[in-house]
């Protein structure tokens, strides 16, 4: 293996054995003008090889534009997690989920597999009230120890409510986009391109900001 040493591969195997159902990892790449697509493909291939329940589907953002549209994929490389029936669950990783982001990848895979973590009744009630579309962007760097926690929370919110969609965006891979969103500290969370905050804040803070988009 190129990226995972034996010890890490064994740990991952053990962790992924906690999956309930199968999960498909849909990887969107593109032929030209994508510096990290090949490496991302190699990394993801290696990662999914540690579990028989993980399946890779290679897609091209241009050639498979139907699927790209269906899964709301706007850039490459982009990774979409699909459940056992290949349903889109509104969560994505834009850029490679290596470094610390391996942890958000793991937790989201386990969630999508059907082994879902229960939230408190109070939080659950607030999530259920969201009835207008919400887009959450979480900008991260791979060396940031706190970022994966924020991605994990954004993804969890999307998994719990069909009106919410959540994207991890690796700030160095998508440098221009990070500039556009004025990212200078990570994790930076942007909601509906309008409300934003910095840091791996509690779910309550995510919901406080999300609820601002629900008025009128």
């Amino acid at each position: 293996m190129k990226y995972l040493n034996e010890e890490v591969a064994k740990q991952l195997e053990e962790i992924f054995s906690g999956m309930k159902d199968d999960v498909t990892v849909a990887l969107f790449t593109k032929e030209d003008d994508c510096e990290s697509c090949e490496d991302t493909n190699d990394f993801i291939s290696e990662l999914i090889s540690v579990s028989p329940k993980l399946h890779l589907e290679n897609l091209d953002i241009d050639k498979d534009s139907d699927k790209a549209n269906e899964f709301e994929v706007l850039m490459a490389p982009s990774i979409v997690l699909l459940d056992k029936d290949k349903n889109y669950k509104r969560i994505k990783f834009n850029g490679v989920p290596s470094g610390h982001e391996i942890n958000s990848f793991i937790s989201s895979v386990i969630e999508v597999s059907g082994n879902s973590q229960k939230l408190s009744d109070e939080i659950q009630a607030r999530i259920e009230k969201i009835n207008k579309p919400v887009n959450i962007k979480v900008f991260v760097t791979l060396a940031c120890p706190h970022c994966a926690g924020a991605v994990q929370k954004a993804h969890k919110l999307a998994l719990e409510n069909p009106n919410i969609q959540a994207d991890m965006i690796e700030a160095q891979t998508f440098f221009d986009m990070s500039e556009e969103y004025n990212v200078s500290s990570v994790p930076k969370i942007v909601i509906n391109d309008e409300f934003e905050f910095v840091g791996n804040q509690p779910l309550e803070v995510f919901l406080d900001e999300i609820e601002k988009t629900q008025v009128a």
Binding site: Y3, G18, N103, C144, N182, S184, S185
Partner: protein, 328 residues
């Protein structure tokens, strides 16, 4: 491309967590070096101990390299914490992670203590060791808050990559500041390190910093203000020797000027000193019986990883003696 598996990615499927039906001998609040070593020593003494932590590993995780922990010439903060946590996991100490404590309640004249979490859960124990550590100190100058997340940063390893090829400033003169400057010098165009007095960092680090030709040091210099429009554009500083002010242009300011204790929730319960550190005696005892404190949250001088770890060991042994004196 590598992977940094979480410290808590416990490979054993059954994760040990805390039981609210039992009375613990000791509950440790905090998952950094002090808290982990308290738990290790307490467990080995045979105490029924559990850890409640907001995040395991603590601030050491934000340290790119540790070169002063005896026995390890050089390793990352994360690697060191993994070793600590694996060691504690070997002893099967239950850990409740991602939870914050709201307060500690005393039960009248009994020696029972209740640890109350923000989510409402309550755990019973005969003793508590507070090892909640500290958080980065702010400069406290105009513009700092306004440009926080817009150029003003508190985690060099997190945010450094966003300033690749740009000019940045590091505020501070201790080990953390010099380490941050070294990390940033590798990826940015220029680093200016600003400190109001002389360097306090270890000479070995100052020597390492001197090897970079894109680092400029401005000592005896005080940051007065962070300036900018949409983003920060620079800082206004006062050179204390010449009593002159100047503007240093910069896209980023990394604040590494030390730490503040995470003691707010104990302010009404325990004696704190003027720096808001929990006052402890030579055995780690606080002003309230059955409650001990270890590491950066206390008034012990010199905050270092090895000292926090040692402090945790001391508290565990003191708690063990204390438990022998009370009626359970």
């Amino acid at each position: 491309m590598d992977v940094n598996l979480n410290l808590s990615s416990n490979t054993s499927k059954e994760k040990l967590t805390l039981d609210k039906e039992i009375i613990y001998d000791l509950i440790v609040i905090g998952g950094g070096p002090a808290g982990l070593n308290t738990a290790l020593y307490a467990k080995r003494k045979g105490l029924n101990v559990g850890i409640i932590a907001r995040d395991l590993g603590g601030q050491v995780l934000d340290t790119s390299s540790v070169e002063n922990y005896l026995g390890f010439v050089s390793l990352s903060g994360e690697e060191l914490m993994k070793k600590f946590i694996n060691h504690v996991n070997e002893l099967k100490v239950p850990i409740l992670e991602y939870e914050e404590v709201e307060t500690i309640r005393l039960k009248d004249s009994s020696s029972l203590r209740e640890v109350v979490l923000k989510n409402g859960l309550v755990f019973n124990t005969y003793s508590v060791v507070i090892a909640t550590g500290s958080k980065p100190r702010r400069l406290g100058v105009p513009g700092e808050k306004e440009y926080s997340g817009k150029g003003v940063c508190y985690c060099a390893i997190c945010d450094g990559p966003l300033f690749a090829g740009e000019e940045v400033i590091v505020a501070g003169g201790g080990n953390s500041a010099v380490e941050a400057a070294i990390d940033l010098a590798k990826i940015t165009k220029k680093v200016t390190i600003i400190h109001r007095s002389q360097f306090r960092a270890d000479q070995i680090l100052i020597d390492q910093l001197a090897k970079f030709d894109n680092v400029e040091s401005k000592l005896q210099t005080q940051i007065l203000e962070v300036q900018g429009d949409k983003f920060m554009t620079g800082v206004k500083v006062l050179n204390k020797n010449s009593s002159t002010e100047e503007i240093i242009e910069s896209a980023g300011l990394f604040v590494e000027i030390g730490y503040l204790p995470n003691s707010e929730i104990f302010a009404d319960l325990l004696e704190l000193n003027e720096r808001n550190e929990i006052v402890v005696d030579g055995h780690g005892k606080t002003s309230v019986e059955g409650i001990y404190a270890a590491g950066d949250v206390t008034d012990i001088p010199y905050k270092q990883i090895i000292m926090s770890a040692g402090d945790g060991a001391k508290c565990a042994l003191a708690v063990n003696e204390y438990l022998n004196t009370i009626n359970k």
